[in-house]
């Protein structure tokens, strides 16, 4: 896969009305040359996984501020596996307590970016993962 065509889905799962962070990330990744699909607020796990399949994305970025990551993320990961797309690189961001990071990594979320992470760091991480 050439780096030029990295396609990313940025999604906001669940009942969470704040998407400024998601939009900043989406814009930043676009400016780094990626094609970014943004699906908007209040997405169900079904919507997110269906979009990932139809858009054939390489990366999913889940942004969450509601604290419901413990409930929603496992459902999303299960549905991805059911759809045969557990090869997608899944990243998370937002307000996720440190104590929960390992649990999320255990279900297949590759990295969790905390508030204040620079876009450059996320871009580098994605590029490195895509190279492997």
């Amino acid at each position: 896969m050439s780096q030029d065509n990295i396609k990313v889905l940025i999604a906001k799962p669940g009942l969470d009305g704040h998407d400024r962070g998601a939009k900043v990330i989406a814009r930043g990744l676009k400016e780094a040359g990626m094609e970014v699909v943004y699906t908007g607020l209040r997405q169900t796990p079904e919507q997110i996984v269906k979009a990932a399949v139809q858009e054939d994305v390489d990366v999913i970025g889940l942004s969450i501020l509601s604290g419901a990551h413990g409930e929603l993320f496992p459902v999303i990961m299960d549905k991805l596996t059911e759809s045969g797309r557990n090869d997608v690189l899944v990243l998370a961001g937002g307000t996720i307590p440190d104590d929960d990071h390992q649990k999320l990594k255990d279900i297949g979320i590759r990295e969790i970016f905390k508030p204040g992470t620079s876009i450059a760091k996320i871009v580098d991480f994605i590029r490195q993962e895509m190279d492997e």
């Binding site: 050439s2 030029d4 065509n5 396609k7 989406a26 814009r27 990744l29 676009k30 400016e31 780094a32 040359g33 990626m34 094609e35 970014v36 699909v37 943004y38 699906t39 908007g40 997405q43 169900t44 079904e46 919507q47 269906k50 979009a51 399949v53 139809q54 858009e55 054939d56 759809s83 045969g84 797309r85 090869d87």
Partner: protein
């Protein structure tokens, strides 16, 4: 992910396979041509509905509602939502799914966002190839949505059998600045957000413009088709039934007047030209740009030892020799 990329796989309607083939159409075009050859010959192309208009005019919301009205009749519908690539980074922000939440998990709906990728020489041929793939996968209608601001968008909607041009009351006199080509490409005008107080004024402006267009173009494609203005409030679903009916009427008109065949042959002609341009660029022009010989020629032009016109003549002669080698 291991899955079988084959014509059979596409025809089976497996969304993962369809999605992967579209990615190949976008990224690894040469590799996917054998599959496209097979698909094209055994596929009747879907009915293509183009929709364009200024940013914020409510295109995606209208698409959502129209698609729902078609799936209610058991049709399989695909949407290709096209957004521009950034000229600087090559990246793109594809946000049309935001307003398509209600159809995003429908069984008979496939939505794909695509970036224009600043294709040199006009329309990105991947768009037509994607239509071939979706048609083979059993989608009876394919909606192509673009932001209508430039020539590229006009080329895209010209692919369509029926083209909807969306505008809104607050567009006001700005509609005068619509590209002439866009006015002509519209088979149906949609005045969205028609519940706003200035809607009737906008309707009047639109009517006048269409009448002017009409008297200027007696011999145009639409000579016997009276372009309707359909008023809608997309968010409330108002006017969607009228819009659905207008699309159906235009389709009937096309098949009655045999213009459908005329449209299709024009689209196919354009696609063949695009594919030839793509081939020439990939096989002749791009490799040349990398070569040191080309740099020398450019230096020669700068120093006025030669000129651009002679240089091009010589370069094209060298292409002909290359061609001779291929044939032998």
């Amino acid at each position: 992910m291991i899955m079988e990329i084959s014509a059979e796989g596409v025809r089976s309607g497996d969304e993962r396979i369809i999605a992967r083939v579209i990615s190949q159409v976008e990224n690894q075009r040469q590799q996917v041509f054998p599959l496209l050859k097979e698909l094209y010959r055994s596929t009747e192309l879907a009915y293509l509905v183009g929709i364009t208009g200024p940013p914020g005019s409510g295109k995606s919301t209208l698409v959502e509602k129209l698609v729902l009205s078609w799936t209610a009749e058991e049709e399989k519908v695909a949407v290709i939502a096209i957004d521009p690539s950034s000229e600087f980074s090559g990246g793109a922000l594809l946000g049309d799914r935001i307003r398509m939440g209600k159809i995003s998990t429908e069984k008979n709906v496939f939505i794909r966002s695509m970036a224009t990728r600043g294709y040199l020489g006009g329309l990105n041929p991947a768009i037509f190839d994607t239509v071939v793939v979706l048609s083979a996968a059993g989608y009876q209608k394919v909606v192509i949505e673009t932001v209508g601001v430039g020539q590229n968008e006009i080329d895209i909607v010209r692919l369509a059998d029926t083209t909807l041009v969306v505008t809104v009351p607050e567009a006001g006199d700005e509609i005068q600045t619509f590209k002439a080509g866009l006015m002509e490409a519209g088979d149906i005008f949609v005045l969205n957000k028609a519940d706003q107080p200035t809607a009737s004024r906008m309707e009047l402006i639109l009517k006048q413009m269409l009448e002017m267009n009409d008297s200027e173009n007696h011999s145009s494609d639409n000579s016997n088709w009276e372009v309707p203005i359909v008023k809608t409030v997309g968010t409330e679903g108002e006017g969607i039934e009228e819009l659905r009916r207008a699309v159906m009427q235009h389709r009937d008109f096309l098949s009655r007047s045999r213009k459908e065949r005329y449209n299709r042959s024009r689209v196919i002609r354009n696609h063949v030209v695009h594919l030839m341009e793509e081939f020439l660029r990939n096989h002749y022009i791009d490799p040349l740009l990398e070569s040191s010989a080309f740099q020398e020629i450019l230096a020669g032009i700068s120093a006025r030892k030669t000129d651009p016109y002679t240089a091009v003549e010589q370069l094209l002669k060298s292409f002909n020799k290359e061609q001779g080698k291929h044939e032998n």
